[in-house]
């Protein structure tokens, strides 16, 4: 389609420009990370413990720490968030309390992550006496991504045609069986989208784990969920600002690994989602 007239040209040009402006920074970040960081990537870098005050060796515990944090966070937030998302529209009705809860959830999504970090420190680490640990970090991150998961799940559940619910109920299925057998399976792809967004946030945030889970330097894997862990974003912050004389390519390499890890986790969730979508519609 060829644009016609000056107005069309102008609109076309502006929209095209906006795409360039949106894509350019992403491409630039990736380009800089890859060009400056790739030389640090090696098998040892990915699988070895850090040595010599993090100036040499690998970042294995940080990679595993972030993976464990993300897995734990999703394991807590996904069931909880989906259950809340089911309860709100399907059971709670449209009362004032429901609207209030809804407003609270939406607002929680806007709370700065450092506030979650401080809350986690107060509530989980100190009050519940869990201590600075993997568990406390997962709980804190789970709180942070709950609004995202609830909102996405709710939208996915609402997108399921009412006719499915009616058909199931009219066949003598109970409300819960209807939700479990008909509504949830149809909403699963949308719920996974929420989980994907949540994973991206959980993997990249530093502030929530700063006081709750992250170890400055811990050249081993956590022994239990009550152990501290290293995490990629925090590790990156440390080697970039706290420890002198870290080779530049190690810093960029660590950032590259973090980005790659998030993309990897997201990609697997996206593949799972498309698999479920295919299976639902044959």
């Amino acid at each position: 389609m060829r644009p016609r007239g000056i107005g069309e040209w102008l609109a076309y040009g502006l929209l095209y420009l906006s795409i360039v402006l949106v894509t350019l920074p992403v491409a630039a970040v990736l380009f800089i990370l890859v060009s400056r960081g790739y030389s640090a990537i090696s098998w040892e870098f990915l699988t070895a413990m850090p040595r010599m005050g993090m100036r040499a060796g690998g970042i294995f515990p940080a990679i595993m720490g972030t993976l464990l944090l993300v897995l734990g966070t999703v394991a807590i937030a996904l069931p909880l968030g989906v259950m809340a998302a089911i309860y709100l529209p399907e059971y709670a009705g449209r009362g004032r309390l429901n609207r209030l809860i809804h407003l609270a959830i939406v607002n929680l999504a806007g709370v700065p992550s450092v506030v979650y970090g401080l809350f986690g420190l107060g509530a989980f680490v100190l009050f519940l006496k869990i201590g600075v640990s993997l568990l406390a970090g997962c709980l804190t991150l789970a709180l942070m991504i709950l609004p995202v998961i609830i909102t996405a799940s709710e939208e996915a559940l609402q997108a399921v045609p009412q006719s499915f619910r009616e058909a199931s109920l009219a066949l003598g299925a109970t409300r819960w069986k209807t939700i479990w057998n008909v509504v949830l399976p149809s909403a699963l792809p949308g719920i996974l989208t929420g989980a994907i967004l949540g994973v991206g946030r959980a993997a990249g945030e530093t502030a929530p784990i700063l006081f709750t889970a992250a170890a400055f330097f811990l050249p081993r894997l956590p022994k239990s969920i009550f152990d501290q862990v290293m995490a990629l974003p925090y590790h990156l912050y440390i080697i970039a600002t706290q420890v002198p004389n870290i080779p530049q390519n190690v810093q960029y390499g660590t950032a590259l690994v973090l980005v790659a890890l998030v993309l990897l986790v997201n990609a697997s969730a996206i593949i799972l989602r498309s698999y479920i979508r295919r299976r639902r519609s044959w």
């Binding site: 449209r94 499915f164 009616e166 058909a167 009219a170 066949l171 003598g172 299925a173 639902r280 044959w282």
Partner: protein, 252 residues
């Protein structure tokens, strides 16, 4: 009217959506193993009435029922009535075919599986699909998606799905309005066939259809049941002027 078993007895039924009264003082008795049709212009309350019989209106916020609906002598709005049990007894087919996004097999076995039946499903599926005049068309693709069927086939699948729950009564809410004439004819033939075993209540905006398939017909207007009786009589010499105006096409 000859004396036969009355399966549904409605007495002074009022129904409200919030402040709006959708049904006004409906009283009637429906006979077992007959087809009863309800006709009337859009918004006259005929679908609302149908949905009071399996309490599907319970799902609507602000809906309220007064009066009595007895099915097999039990008040279905009584405190101790189990809605799930009621809906097993009173099956429903909707305006638009609404098969689940599952295989044909899983659609048919949905209700039995919900009731905890996991044996003899193969037999049940064959029996039910034969009953719904769909078996020959789908016997080789029971595992494929119900959504791959044509609209008419989907609607017969929905009828089969309802039959698999083993209901005594089948409610049909304009079951052919989304179908082409050939599919409509097949559903009408199926209804005649099912009449021997099931009590069928159909809501339709198609008067020819009501005249063709039903033994009894009720005419709704603005939430009132204007006239109810033998279909032959309603469509040839109705008692009420408004019924006559409607069936002769003077309004509606």
């Amino acid at each position: 009217m000859e004396k036969t078993a009355c399966i549904i007895d409605v007495a002074r039924l009022n129904f409200y959506y919030g402040k709006f009264q959708a049904l006004k003082n409906i009283s009637l008795q429906l006979e077992s193993k007959k087809i009863t049709a309800f006709i009337g212009p859009s918004g006259c309350g005929k679908s609302t009435f149908l949905r009071t019989l399996n309490r599907m209106n319970d799902l609507i916020a602000g809906a309220r029922v007064e009066g009595k609906v007895l099915i097999d002598g039990r008040d279905i709005y009584a405190q101790d009535m189990d809605v799930v049990e009621l809906r097993r007894r009173v099956g429903m087919v909707f305006q638009r075919p609404n098969p689940f996004p599952m295989s044909i097999f899983d659609n048919i076995t949905y209700a039995p599986r919900m009731q905890g039946q996991h044996k003899g499903l193969d037999d049940l599926v064959e029996r039910t699909l034969v009953r719904a005049a769909l078996w020959d068309e789908v016997r080789d693709k029971l595992k494929s998606s119900a959504l791959s069927l044509s609209g008419g086939q989907q609607q017969r699948l929905c009828i089969a799905r309802a039959l698999a729950a083993d209901p005594g009564i089948l409610l049909m809410d304009e079951p052919c309005s989304a179908l082409d004439p050939v599919s409509t004819l097949r559903i009408e033939e199926l209804m005649q066939d099912l009449k021997n075993e099931y009590t069928i209540i159909i809501v339709t905006h198609n008067m020819q259809q009501a005249a063709r398939v039903s033994d009894y017909t009720g005419f709704f207007l603005s939430g009132e049941l204007i006239e109810f009786g033998d279909s032959n009589k309603i469509f040839t010499k109705p008692d009420d002027k408004r019924t006559e105006d409607y069936i002769t096409g003077r309004f509606g």
